[in-house]
Protein backbone atom coordinates (compact mmCIF):
# COMPACT_ATOMS: atom_id res chain seq x y z
CA UNK A 1 0.00 0.00 0.00
CA UNK A 2 2.74 2.43 1.00
CA UNK A 3 4.83 1.47 -1.99
CA UNK A 4 1.86 2.07 -4.29
CA UNK A 5 1.25 5.51 -2.77
CA UNK A 6 4.91 6.33 -3.30
CA UNK A 7 4.62 5.29 -6.94
CA UNK A 8 1.61 7.58 -7.36
CA UNK A 9 3.71 10.40 -5.97
CA UNK A 10 6.43 9.78 -8.58
CA UNK A 11 3.82 9.51 -11.34
CA UNK A 12 2.19 12.79 -10.24
CA UNK A 13 5.49 14.63 -10.32
CA UNK A 14 6.38 13.18 -13.74
CA UNK A 15 2.99 14.04 -15.24
CA UNK A 16 3.04 17.59 -13.90
CA UNK A 17 6.63 18.15 -15.03
CA UNK A 18 5.89 16.91 -18.58
CA UNK A 19 2.67 18.94 -18.72
CA UNK A 20 4.29 22.19 -17.63
CA UNK A 21 7.33 21.74 -19.86
CA UNK A 22 5.10 21.06 -22.88
CA UNK A 23 2.99 24.13 -22.12
CA UNK A 24 6.06 26.33 -21.77
CA UNK A 25 7.58 24.94 -24.97
CA UNK A 26 4.30 25.44 -26.87
CA UNK A 27 4.04 29.06 -25.73
CA UNK A 28 7.73 29.95 -26.07
CA UNK A 29 8.77 28.10 -29.26
CA UNK A 30 9.54 30.43 -32.13
CA UNK A 31 8.48 27.87 -34.77
CA UNK A 32 4.72 28.08 -35.28
CA UNK A 33 4.32 24.54 -36.60
CA UNK A 34 6.27 23.14 -33.66
CA UNK A 35 4.16 25.17 -31.26
CA UNK A 36 0.99 23.58 -32.69
CA UNK A 37 2.44 20.06 -32.46
CA UNK A 38 3.50 20.67 -28.87
CA UNK A 39 0.04 21.99 -28.05
CA UNK A 40 -1.54 18.78 -29.41
CA UNK A 41 0.84 16.65 -27.33
CA UNK A 42 0.04 18.90 -24.36
CA UNK A 43 -3.66 18.06 -24.83
CA UNK A 44 -2.93 14.33 -24.86
CA UNK A 45 -0.85 14.54 -21.67
CA UNK A 46 -3.65 16.59 -20.15
CA UNK A 47 -6.05 13.72 -20.97
CA UNK A 48 -3.77 11.44 -18.91
CA UNK A 49 -3.91 13.97 -16.06
CA UNK A 50 -7.73 13.90 -16.17
CA UNK A 51 -7.67 10.12 -15.99
CA UNK A 52 -5.29 10.34 -13.03
CA UNK A 53 -7.61 12.78 -11.20
CA UNK A 54 -10.58 10.38 -11.58
CA UNK A 55 -12.23 12.42 -14.31
CA UNK A 56 -12.72 9.85 -17.12
CA UNK A 57 -15.49 11.93 -18.76
CA UNK A 58 -13.11 14.82 -19.19
CA UNK A 59 -10.28 12.56 -20.30
CA UNK A 60 -12.49 11.26 -23.12
CA UNK A 61 -13.60 14.77 -24.08
CA UNK A 62 -10.06 16.16 -23.92
CA UNK A 63 -8.56 13.40 -26.08
CA UNK A 64 -11.34 13.71 -28.68
CA UNK A 65 -12.13 17.42 -28.59
CA UNK A 66 -9.24 19.27 -26.96
CA UNK A 67 -6.33 17.45 -28.56
CA UNK A 68 -7.99 15.80 -31.58
CA UNK A 69 -10.35 18.44 -32.88
CA UNK A 70 -8.38 21.38 -31.56
CA UNK A 71 -5.28 19.97 -33.24
CA UNK A 72 -7.11 19.42 -36.53
CA UNK A 73 -8.42 23.00 -36.41
CA UNK A 74 -4.95 24.40 -35.80
CA UNK A 75 -3.40 22.29 -38.57
CA UNK A 76 -6.09 23.47 -40.98
CA UNK A 77 -4.79 27.02 -40.61
CA UNK A 78 -1.30 25.82 -41.56
CA UNK A 79 -2.19 23.72 -44.56
CA UNK A 80 -1.29 26.20 -47.30
CA UNK A 81 2.05 27.32 -45.93
CA UNK A 82 4.62 24.57 -46.32
CA UNK A 83 7.54 26.78 -45.38
CA UNK A 84 8.60 27.26 -41.80
CA UNK A 85 7.04 30.20 -39.99
CA UNK A 86 8.84 31.88 -37.14
CA UNK A 87 7.24 34.08 -34.53
CA UNK A 88 9.57 36.47 -32.77
CA UNK A 89 8.48 38.53 -29.81
CA UNK A 90 8.44 42.19 -30.88
CA UNK A 91 8.95 43.43 -27.30
CA UNK A 92 12.19 44.28 -25.54
CA UNK A 93 13.53 41.45 -23.32
CA UNK A 94 12.99 43.64 -20.27
CA UNK A 95 9.27 43.77 -21.11
CA UNK A 96 9.17 39.97 -21.59
CA UNK A 97 10.79 39.36 -18.21
CA UNK A 98 8.74 42.09 -16.53
CA UNK A 99 5.45 40.61 -17.72
CA UNK A 100 6.75 37.15 -16.73
CA UNK A 101 7.37 38.35 -13.18
CA UNK A 102 3.97 40.06 -13.17
CA UNK A 103 2.01 36.93 -14.19
CA UNK A 104 3.95 34.84 -11.67
CA UNK A 105 3.06 37.32 -8.91
CA UNK A 106 -0.57 37.15 -10.06
CA UNK A 107 -0.42 33.33 -10.05
CA UNK A 108 1.04 33.28 -6.55
CA UNK A 109 -1.70 35.62 -5.38
CA UNK A 110 -4.38 33.39 -6.90
CA UNK A 111 -2.80 30.30 -5.34
CA UNK A 112 -2.59 32.01 -1.95
CA UNK A 113 -6.22 33.12 -2.14
CA UNK A 114 -7.41 29.71 -3.30
CA UNK A 115 -5.55 27.75 -0.65
CA UNK A 116 -6.83 30.05 2.09
CA UNK A 117 -10.46 29.40 1.11
CA UNK A 118 -10.07 25.75 0.09
CA UNK A 119 -10.69 24.31 3.62
CA UNK A 120 -14.05 26.12 3.80
CA UNK A 121 -14.89 24.89 0.29
CA UNK A 122 -14.92 21.38 1.70
CA UNK A 123 -17.98 22.24 3.78
CA UNK A 124 -19.86 24.91 1.85
CA UNK A 125 -19.20 24.78 -1.90
CA UNK A 126 -19.14 21.07 -2.38
CA UNK A 127 -22.22 19.84 -4.16
CA UNK A 128 -20.97 16.24 -4.45
CA UNK A 129 -23.00 15.06 -1.45
CA UNK A 130 -26.12 16.85 -2.71
CA UNK A 131 -25.69 15.23 -6.14
CA UNK A 132 -25.30 11.79 -4.56
CA UNK A 133 -28.43 12.32 -2.47
CA UNK A 134 -30.54 13.34 -5.47
CA UNK A 135 -29.04 10.91 -8.00
CA UNK A 136 -31.84 8.37 -7.62
CA UNK A 137 -34.37 10.97 -8.81
CA UNK A 138 -32.38 12.17 -11.82
CA UNK A 139 -33.24 9.41 -14.31
CA UNK A 140 -29.58 8.39 -14.81
CA UNK A 141 -27.03 6.76 -12.53
CA UNK A 142 -23.86 8.55 -13.71
CA UNK A 143 -23.42 11.67 -11.55
CA UNK A 144 -21.75 13.83 -14.25
CA UNK A 145 -24.59 13.16 -16.72
CA UNK A 146 -27.12 13.86 -13.94
CA UNK A 147 -25.52 17.26 -13.29
CA UNK A 148 -25.30 18.10 -17.00
CA UNK A 149 -28.79 17.10 -18.10
CA UNK A 150 -30.85 17.44 -14.94
CA UNK A 151 -29.54 19.37 -11.92
CA UNK A 152 -27.71 22.00 -13.99
CA UNK A 153 -29.55 21.50 -17.29
CA UNK A 154 -29.94 25.27 -17.57
CA UNK A 155 -26.14 25.67 -17.90
CA UNK A 156 -25.91 22.93 -20.50
CA UNK A 157 -28.70 24.53 -22.54
CA UNK A 158 -26.85 27.85 -22.56
CA UNK A 159 -23.64 26.07 -23.45
CA UNK A 160 -25.29 24.47 -26.48
CA UNK A 161 -26.50 27.95 -27.39
CA UNK A 162 -22.90 29.21 -27.28
CA UNK A 163 -21.94 26.41 -29.67
CA UNK A 164 -24.78 27.48 -31.96
CA UNK A 165 -23.65 31.13 -31.84
CA UNK A 166 -20.09 30.08 -32.76
CA UNK A 167 -21.22 28.06 -35.78
CA UNK A 168 -23.50 30.89 -36.94
CA UNK A 169 -20.48 33.16 -36.76
CA UNK A 170 -18.38 30.72 -38.79
CA UNK A 171 -21.09 30.27 -41.42
CA UNK A 172 -21.53 34.03 -41.64
CA UNK A 173 -17.95 34.25 -42.92
CA UNK A 174 -18.86 32.63 -46.22
CA UNK A 175 -17.97 29.57 -48.26
CA UNK A 176 -15.10 27.12 -47.79
CA UNK A 177 -12.47 26.33 -50.37
CA UNK A 178 -12.45 23.14 -52.42
CA UNK A 179 -12.08 19.70 -50.89
CA UNK A 180 -8.83 17.97 -49.99
CA UNK A 181 -7.03 15.74 -52.46
CA UNK A 182 -6.27 12.46 -50.78
CA UNK A 183 -4.44 9.14 -50.97
CA UNK A 184 -6.26 5.87 -51.71
CA UNK A 185 -4.98 4.34 -48.45
CA UNK A 186 -6.57 7.15 -46.50
CA UNK A 187 -9.95 7.12 -48.20
CA UNK A 188 -10.05 3.36 -47.67
CA UNK A 189 -9.33 3.91 -43.98
CA UNK A 190 -12.14 6.46 -43.85
CA UNK A 191 -14.58 3.98 -45.41
CA UNK A 192 -13.63 1.56 -42.64
CA UNK A 193 -13.56 3.97 -39.77
CA UNK A 194 -16.64 6.12 -40.34
CA UNK A 195 -19.24 3.40 -39.66
CA UNK A 196 -17.21 2.29 -36.65
CA UNK A 197 -17.08 5.86 -35.31
CA UNK A 198 -20.85 6.24 -35.70
CA UNK A 199 -21.35 2.97 -33.84
CA UNK A 200 -18.97 4.11 -31.10
CA UNK A 201 -20.82 7.44 -30.84
CA UNK A 202 -24.07 5.55 -30.25
CA UNK A 203 -22.40 3.38 -27.61
CA UNK A 204 -20.77 6.32 -25.80
CA UNK A 205 -24.10 8.19 -25.81
CA UNK A 206 -25.94 5.22 -24.33
CA UNK A 207 -23.17 4.49 -21.82
CA UNK A 208 -23.39 8.08 -20.55
CA UNK A 209 -26.48 7.18 -18.51
CA UNK A 210 -24.53 4.94 -16.13
CA UNK A 211 -20.81 5.43 -16.78
CA UNK A 212 -18.41 7.99 -18.32
CA UNK A 213 -19.66 9.18 -21.69
CA UNK A 214 -22.58 11.20 -23.00
CA UNK A 215 -23.62 13.69 -25.63
CA UNK A 216 -20.40 15.72 -25.75
CA UNK A 217 -18.07 12.76 -26.21
CA UNK A 218 -20.46 11.11 -28.66
CA UNK A 219 -20.79 14.35 -30.62
CA UNK A 220 -17.02 14.61 -30.78
CA UNK A 221 -16.81 11.09 -32.23
CA UNK A 222 -19.38 12.03 -34.89
CA UNK A 223 -17.32 15.13 -35.66
CA UNK A 224 -14.28 12.87 -35.98
CA UNK A 225 -16.16 10.87 -38.61
CA UNK A 226 -17.07 14.10 -40.41
CA UNK A 227 -13.50 15.37 -40.41
CA UNK A 228 -12.23 12.02 -41.71
CA UNK A 229 -14.70 12.22 -44.59
CA UNK A 230 -13.67 15.80 -45.31
CA UNK A 231 -9.98 14.86 -45.35
CA UNK A 232 -10.78 11.84 -47.52
CA UNK A 233 -12.02 14.20 -50.22
CA UNK A 234 -15.76 14.43 -49.55
CA UNK A 235 -16.39 18.13 -50.04
CA UNK A 236 -19.40 18.29 -47.71
CA UNK A 237 -18.05 15.78 -45.16
CA UNK A 238 -21.09 13.51 -45.33
CA UNK A 239 -23.42 16.28 -44.13
CA UNK A 240 -26.74 16.89 -45.91
CA UNK A 241 -26.41 19.05 -49.01
CA UNK A 242 -29.77 20.72 -48.51
CA UNK A 243 -29.35 23.92 -46.55
CA UNK A 244 -32.49 23.71 -44.43
CA UNK A 245 -31.56 20.17 -43.33
CA UNK A 246 -28.15 21.38 -42.18
CA UNK A 247 -29.75 24.25 -40.30
CA UNK A 248 -32.28 21.90 -38.73
CA UNK A 249 -29.49 19.61 -37.56
CA UNK A 250 -27.53 22.50 -36.11
CA UNK A 251 -30.41 23.88 -34.04
CA UNK A 252 -31.97 20.50 -33.13
CA UNK A 253 -30.07 20.10 -29.84
CA UNK A 254 -30.68 23.58 -28.48
CA UNK A 255 -34.19 23.76 -29.93
CA UNK A 256 -35.52 20.52 -28.48
CA UNK A 257 -33.80 21.21 -25.15
CA UNK A 258 -35.60 24.56 -25.01
CA UNK A 259 -38.92 23.11 -26.18
CA UNK A 260 -38.81 20.34 -23.56
CA UNK A 261 -38.00 22.94 -20.89
CA UNK A 262 -40.85 25.24 -21.96
CA UNK A 263 -43.23 22.32 -22.37
CA UNK A 264 -42.54 21.16 -18.84
CA UNK A 265 -43.01 24.74 -17.65
CA UNK A 266 -46.40 24.84 -19.39
CA UNK A 267 -47.25 21.46 -17.89
CA UNK A 268 -46.77 22.99 -14.47
CA UNK A 269 -43.51 21.18 -13.68
CA UNK A 270 -41.15 24.15 -13.76
CA UNK A 271 -38.50 24.88 -16.41
CA UNK A 272 -36.54 21.68 -17.16
CA UNK A 273 -38.00 19.94 -14.10
CA UNK A 274 -38.52 16.45 -15.45
CA UNK A 275 -41.19 14.28 -13.83
CA UNK A 276 -39.16 11.54 -12.11
CA UNK A 277 -40.78 8.62 -13.92
CA UNK A 278 -39.95 9.99 -17.39
CA UNK A 279 -36.70 11.83 -16.62
CA UNK A 280 -34.59 9.14 -18.30
CA UNK A 281 -36.48 9.39 -21.59
CA UNK A 282 -36.46 13.18 -21.73
CA UNK A 283 -32.72 13.15 -21.04
CA UNK A 284 -32.12 10.51 -23.71
CA UNK A 285 -34.14 12.48 -26.30
CA UNK A 286 -32.27 15.71 -25.56
CA UNK A 287 -28.92 13.96 -25.54
CA UNK A 288 -29.54 12.23 -28.86
CA UNK A 289 -30.39 15.46 -30.65
CA UNK A 290 -27.59 17.30 -28.86
CA UNK A 291 -25.16 14.65 -30.12
CA UNK A 292 -26.25 15.21 -33.71
CA UNK A 293 -26.01 19.00 -33.31
CA UNK A 294 -22.60 18.89 -31.61
CA UNK A 295 -21.25 16.51 -34.27
CA UNK A 296 -22.48 18.70 -37.13
CA UNK A 297 -21.35 21.92 -35.45
CA UNK A 298 -17.82 20.67 -34.86
CA UNK A 299 -17.54 19.22 -38.39
CA UNK A 300 -18.66 22.51 -39.94
CA UNK A 301 -16.33 24.38 -37.59
CA UNK A 302 -13.45 22.31 -38.96
CA UNK A 303 -14.51 23.10 -42.53
CA UNK A 304 -14.59 26.77 -41.56
CA UNK A 305 -17.66 27.94 -43.47
CA UNK A 306 -20.52 26.85 -45.68
CA UNK A 307 -19.63 23.93 -48.01
CA UNK A 308 -19.79 24.86 -51.70
CA UNK A 309 -22.21 22.08 -52.55
CA UNK A 310 -24.83 23.16 -50.05
CA UNK A 311 -27.82 24.34 -52.05
CA UNK A 312 -30.27 26.99 -50.89
Amino acid sequence: MNLLDGLWGVLDLLLVAVLLLLAMAAVLSSDRRRSMMLFIVFGLVLALVWARLHAPDIALAEAAIGAGLGGALLMATLRRDTHQQTDQFPQHPVVLWGVGVLVMVLGTAIAWGLFSVLPTVEQTWRKGAAVDAQLAFSGVSHPVTAVLLNFRAWDTLLELAVLLAAIFGIRALGYVRSAYVTEVAFSQLAVWLVPLLILMAGYVLWAGAHSPGGAFQAGALLAGAGILLRLAGYSHAGLPTTRWLVRLGLVAGTGVFLLVGLGLLGWGQGFLHYPIAYAKWWILLIEMLATVSIGMTLTLAFMGGIPQKEAA
Binding site: E183, A185, L193
Partner: protein, 99 residues
Amino acid sequence: MILDALSVLLLLLGLFFFVSGLLGLWRFPDTFARLHALTKADNLGLGLVMTGLLFQVPDVLWAIKFILVWLLALVASAVNAHLIAVFLHRQQEGHDESA
Protein backbone atom coordinates in the same frame (compact mmCIF):
# COMPACT_ATOMS: atom_id res chain seq x y z
CA MET B 1 -0.37 -15.77 -9.72
CA ILE B 2 1.20 -17.30 -12.82
CA LEU B 3 -1.07 -15.13 -14.96
CA ASP B 4 0.09 -12.04 -13.04
CA ALA B 5 3.73 -12.98 -13.58
CA LEU B 6 3.07 -13.52 -17.28
CA SER B 7 1.38 -10.11 -17.47
CA VAL B 8 4.30 -8.36 -15.81
CA LEU B 9 6.76 -10.14 -18.11
CA LEU B 10 4.84 -9.16 -21.26
CA LEU B 11 4.37 -5.58 -20.06
CA LEU B 12 8.09 -5.23 -19.38
CA LEU B 13 8.91 -6.72 -22.79
CA GLY B 14 6.45 -4.32 -24.42
CA LEU B 15 8.01 -1.44 -22.53
CA PHE B 16 11.43 -2.45 -23.86
CA PHE B 17 10.18 -2.22 -27.44
CA PHE B 18 8.54 1.13 -26.74
CA VAL B 19 11.83 2.46 -25.42
CA SER B 20 13.64 1.09 -28.49
CA GLY B 21 11.13 2.78 -30.78
CA LEU B 22 11.57 6.01 -28.86
CA LEU B 23 15.34 5.79 -29.17
CA GLY B 24 14.93 5.29 -32.91
CA LEU B 25 12.63 8.30 -33.18
CA TRP B 26 15.16 10.35 -31.29
CA ARG B 27 18.43 9.21 -32.83
CA PHE B 28 17.73 8.10 -36.40
CA PRO B 29 18.96 10.52 -39.08
CA ASP B 30 15.98 10.94 -41.44
CA THR B 31 12.21 10.77 -41.34
CA PHE B 32 11.91 7.46 -43.19
CA ALA B 33 14.15 5.68 -40.70
CA ARG B 34 12.28 7.29 -37.83
CA LEU B 35 8.94 6.15 -39.23
CA HIS B 36 10.36 2.66 -39.57
CA ALA B 37 11.49 2.58 -35.93
CA LEU B 38 8.24 4.04 -34.71
CA THR B 39 5.84 1.78 -36.59
CA LYS B 40 7.75 -1.48 -36.21
CA ALA B 41 8.97 -1.29 -32.63
CA ASP B 42 6.01 0.56 -31.16
CA ASN B 43 3.39 -1.66 -32.73
CA LEU B 44 5.17 -4.73 -31.40
CA GLY B 45 5.40 -3.03 -28.01
CA LEU B 46 1.71 -2.17 -28.09
CA GLY B 47 0.87 -5.76 -29.03
CA LEU B 48 2.90 -7.10 -26.11
CA VAL B 49 1.33 -4.65 -23.66
CA MET B 50 -2.13 -5.57 -24.93
CA THR B 51 -1.42 -9.30 -24.61
CA GLY B 52 -0.12 -8.68 -21.11
CA LEU B 53 -3.30 -6.84 -20.19
CA LEU B 54 -5.47 -9.58 -21.72
CA PHE B 55 -4.48 -11.86 -18.82
CA GLN B 56 -6.06 -9.38 -16.42
CA VAL B 57 -9.50 -8.87 -18.01
CA PRO B 58 -12.59 -9.75 -15.96
CA ASP B 59 -14.62 -11.14 -18.88
CA VAL B 60 -14.68 -11.78 -22.63
CA LEU B 61 -16.33 -8.44 -23.50
CA TRP B 62 -13.38 -6.58 -22.05
CA ALA B 63 -11.02 -8.76 -24.04
CA ILE B 64 -12.90 -7.97 -27.26
CA LYS B 65 -12.73 -4.23 -26.50
CA PHE B 66 -8.99 -4.46 -25.87
CA ILE B 67 -8.38 -6.32 -29.13
CA LEU B 68 -10.54 -3.82 -31.02
CA VAL B 69 -8.52 -0.91 -29.61
CA TRP B 70 -5.31 -2.66 -30.59
CA LEU B 71 -6.50 -3.35 -34.16
CA LEU B 72 -7.62 0.27 -34.58
CA ALA B 73 -4.27 1.55 -33.37
CA LEU B 74 -2.48 -0.81 -35.79
CA VAL B 75 -4.52 0.28 -38.80
CA ALA B 76 -4.29 3.96 -37.90
CA SER B 77 -0.51 3.90 -37.38
CA ALA B 78 0.06 1.98 -40.62
CA VAL B 79 -1.99 4.44 -42.68
CA ASN B 80 -0.47 7.39 -40.86
CA ALA B 81 3.09 6.26 -41.56
CA HIS B 82 2.17 5.58 -45.18
CA LEU B 83 0.72 9.07 -45.64
CA ILE B 84 3.75 10.77 -44.10
CA ALA B 85 6.12 8.65 -46.21
CA VAL B 86 4.21 9.33 -49.45
CA PHE B 87 4.14 13.07 -48.74
CA LEU B 88 7.85 13.17 -48.01
CA HIS B 89 8.72 11.04 -51.02
CA ARG B 90 6.77 13.33 -53.31
CA GLN B 91 8.33 16.42 -51.78
CA GLN B 92 11.86 15.05 -52.27
CA GLU B 93 11.16 14.07 -55.89
CA GLY B 94 9.87 17.57 -56.50
CA HIS B 95 13.11 18.96 -55.07
CA ASP B 96 15.22 16.71 -57.31
CA GLU B 97 13.44 17.87 -60.45
CA SER B 98 13.84 21.53 -59.60
CA ALA B 99 17.53 21.11 -58.72
